[in-house]
């Protein structure tokens, strides 16, 4: 196998890596944000439940959750390896993203909420128009971190047989005995993916930043 074939075999796993990420990250964001709002504004009972959710899904190794979802849950509903993997990752990510959003919400001073209420906005309006827009900006740096983690953690779906980058590197490495080259290639591809993503998010952060005179 020549070098070109070798690299392109590994690189063709990128579509799965990206696919898993594109399911896990946004679903994690959606669920995480809803749960974070419940955690911060939903009262004591809600906060306890959310705390439990966070503890469970941040406490289980993602791989274990993947196996549970793929081998157990899909006895009833037939989930493909790709979906089972993406969804489990999404669930784990939702717990971390909940903490990110929660941190951002709490960082926006409670006084902002009070000032909004003083103008006559309802609690919901105050959260939506005053707290959330400010929280979003605070959440971007830690979220960029989470995005990088998911891109790399997407490799876990190899255990279910999804032909993503890492799995392909393993197979071609073992088959050709050129292990170092295989894993280096995989590393380069992951690096490029993470780099591109963090750069993009950086740009977003700059675009959204609120002007001020220091």
């Amino acid at each position: 196998m020549d070098f070109g074939q070798f690299i392109s075999y590994i690189a063709s796993g990128t579509v799965y890596t990206v696919g898993v990420t594109l399911i896990a990250l946004p679903s994690g964001l959606l669920i995480g944000t809803i749960l974070a709002l419940l955690y911060v504004y939903g009262g004591k009972v809600a906060a306890r439940v959310m705390n439990l959710y966070s503890t469970i899904f941040r406490g289980i190794p993602p791989l274990v959750l993947l196996f549970i979802l793929f081998f157990a849950v899909s006895k009833g509903i037939n989930l493909s390896a790709f979906l089972a993997g993406s969804l489990s990752l999404g669930m784990v990510s939702s717990a971390y993203q909940m903490e990110i959003v929660r941190g951002a919400l709490l960082s926006v001073s409670g006084d902002q909420l009070m000032a909004a209420r003083a103008v006559g906005l309802s609690r919901l309006q105050a959260i939506r128009y005053v707290v959330l827009p400010q929280a979003v900006r605070l959440a971007i740096p830690p979220w960029s971190n989470e995005a990088a983690i998911i891109i790399k953690d997407s490799s876990l779906v190899y255990a279910l047989g999804v032909q993503e980058i890492l799995r392909r590197a393993q197979l071609i490495g073992a088959s050709s005995q050129r292990y170092l080259l295989a894993y280096l290639s995989a590393a380069v591809i992951y690096f490029l993916l993470v780099y591109a993503t963090t750069r993009l998010l950086n740009l977003l952060e700059q675009k959204l930043s609120i002007p001020s005179n220091p």
């Binding site: 006084d111 902002q112 009070m114 000032a115 909004a116 209420r117 003083a118 103008v119 006559g120 906005l121 309802s122 309006q125 128009y129 005053v130 827009p133 400010q134 900006r137 609120i210 002007p211 001020s212 005179n213």
Partner: protein
């Protein structure tokens, strides 16, 4: 016969074991400027926050015009549309321009069209002398400018009463004057105002009544002349003397 706009009866607020204030009575008539003075930590801010229901009192009642706002089932958001509040730390919405800050209540609470809201907001900003800073963000404004925008934001809702919680305490001395000037003009225009402050010059010149609070009680209240020149209680005289000394100096420096 001036009508009472805000009436407070037997108001008590506790926090755990601590009594912040108890059995307070206060009547504010339309057009009055009431200045509340007293040592820090005596519950003045808490009292203000009870007036617009940001905090709930434990006992007692508050009426806004004829409506008992402390009654069960009152729509608090509704009530707060008619009571404006200005905070010590300005608390402008950081992600919005000055114009955006003033407009928010108009578009989201009053449901005004964007155009109408912009017009009204610019009007209020002119009133406080900041129409030319409409597109500036809070981070680009000085403290005095931020506070004036905060006043415009509160005024935009056409409140019946304006509450000021130590509006100049967080400002550099040179910037206090511009804010007090706006407030003075507001009083002259007939706005009903309740101001917690240490600014004695303002109290003497602008207040209709001064209320001295200490340790959770109203010690004494009266006109500026009465309070400064013939106070009934020694404690009142003592406090006013001390604070005039301290802040009189600050005022001289500021001028």
């Amino acid at each position: 016969m001036p009508e009472p706009i805000l009436t407070i009866k037997n108001l008590t607020k506790t926090y755990g074991q601590n009594v912040i204030f108890q059995h307070l009575d206060l009547t504010v008539n339309e057009g009055d400027t009431i200045v509340i003075i007293g040592p820090s930590g005596t519950g003045k801010s808490t009292l203000l926050r009870c007036m617009n229901l940001l905090t709930r009192p434990n006992e007692g009642q508050i009426w806004l015009d004829d409506l008992e706002i402390t009654a069960k089932g009152t729509d608090e958001d509704q009530v707060r549309q008619h009571i404006g509040m200005v905070f010590q730390n300005f608390l402008l919405f950081n992600h919005l321009t000055a114009l955006g800050n003033v407009k928010l209540g108009l578009t989201k609470v009053r449901h005004m069209s964007d155009e109408a809201a912009t017009d009204k907001a610019l009007e209020e900003l002119s009133r406080v002398g900041l129409a030319d800073r409409a597109d500036h963000y809070p981070g680009q404004l000085s403290g005095g400018q931020q506070q004036r925008v905060a006043i415009a934001r509160a005024l935009a809702m056409d409140p019946r009463v304006m509450l000021f919680d130590e509006p100049t305490s967080a400002l550099d001395p040179e910037l206090i004057g511009e804010v007090l000037e706006v407030m003075r003009q507001l009083a002259l225009d007939g706005m009903t105002m309740i101001v917690v402050t240490h600014e004695m010059g303002f109290a003497r010149e602008v207040a209709d009544r001064i209320v001295f609070m200490e340790k959770g009680y109203i010690v004494e209240e009266g006109s500026p002349d009465e309070m400064f020149n013939h106070p009934k209680f020694d404690r009142t005289r003592e406090f006013l003397w001390k604070i005039t000394e301290l802040y009189g100096k600050k005022e001289k420096e500021a001028k």
